[in-house]
Symmetry: C2
Subunit: 196 residues, 2 copies
Amino acid sequence: MARIKASRNGTKKDAIITKAAALFRKKGFAATSMRELAETVGVEAPSLYNHIGSKSEILQVICFKIANEFNTHMIQVESSTDTALAKLEKLIRFHINMIIEEYDEVFVANHEWKQMEEPFLSNFLTQRKNYEGSMITIISAGIKKKELKKLHPYVAVLTILSAVRGLESWQRHKNNVTAIQLENDMVEHLLNGLKT
Amino acid sequence: MARIKASRNGTKKDAIITKAAALFRKKGFAATSMRELAETVGVEAPSLYNHIGSKSEILQVICFKIANEFNTHMIQVESSTDTALAKLEKLIRFHINMIIEEYDEVFVANHEWKQMEEPFLSNFLTQRKNYEGSMITIISAGIKKKELKKLHPYVAVLTILSAVRGLESWQRHKNNVTAIQLENDMVEHLLNGLKT
C-alpha cells in the first residue's frame, strides 16, 4: 500500500489537510468523501484514519488554522502605533495575500465553516465577530481623529471585507491582471475612499 | 384541493416563482424539492405543473428576470450623458436597491445560476460578462477624461461588485444600520475611492 508522503515542511497530517482543502473548495465539504480524499492522497481510506479522526476534524483544522493566522496578524496591527489608515492598509494587504497564497484554505474557511459541528461552530463565529469588531474599533478611532471620513464603521468594514472576498472571482479568471496590480489598485480604491 | 393564490399584481406563476426564490435562497436549489415547493405554496405537487414545467424552469425564470432588470438599467445608464462618476453612482445604488428589495431573487441569481442547464447557463454567463464589460467601458472612459483615478478598470469593477454583494451579509445581521445609511455610505466609500 502506498505511504502518505509528508508535505515539504510539514507532517503527513499537513499533507492530508492540503489535499482536503483543495477538494473541499472544488466539490464542497458535504460532497467530498473520505474515500475520495484517500484516492487523491494516494492511499487506502483506513490509513487516512491513522493521521486524522474524521472529515469534520479536517474542516476544523482548516478553519482554525486560518483563524489563527488572521488573529495573530490582527494582534500585531492593533498593538502597533500606526495611524488608522496604515493599520487598514496592512489588514487589506494581508487579506489579499492570504487569498492569493492560501486560496483553498481561505475559501473553505469562508464558505464551509457553517458545516462545522459544535462547539467549534459557535467558537469560530465569535472569532469572526471579534475580528470585525477590531476593524470597527480601528475605523472608529480614525474617524474620531478626523483621519477618516465619517462613514458608518460597520458599513466600511462590510465594504472592505466583501471587496477582498471578490478575489475569489479573480482567482478563477485572472483577466490579465497580476497579483501585485490587483493588490495595489484595490488597496488604493478602498483606502482612498475613506480618506478625509 | 387548495387553489394557488395569485400574487398581488401578478399571475399564479409569479406567486410560485416568489415562493420558490425564498426556498432556493434558504435551502439551495439542489436541496429543494417540487413537493416542498407545493407544500409552501399550499397545493398538491401535480397542480404546480399546471403553471410551471420543472424546477429547472423556475431557476431559469428567476435568473433571467433578474438579468433583464440589470440589463435594462445598464442600457439606460449607458445611453445617458452623465459623467462616469454619476453613471457609476446610479449603478451602485441600483445594485444596492435590488439586493434590498428583491433579496431572494438576486441571491438565487448570484449563487445558484451554475445549476442552470444549457443553453441557459452559457447565455447567462455571457450576459454577466457583458454587464461587467459595460462597467469596465464606463470606468475606462472616466479614467481617460481624468475624472477617475488611474486604477485597473477590471479591479475597480471587481471591488464594486464584490462590495455590493456583501449586502447579503447585512441582510442577515442588520447591525442597527438602516438601508439608506448603508446605501449612502457604501456609495461614498466606493466612489470617493475612484475620484482623482
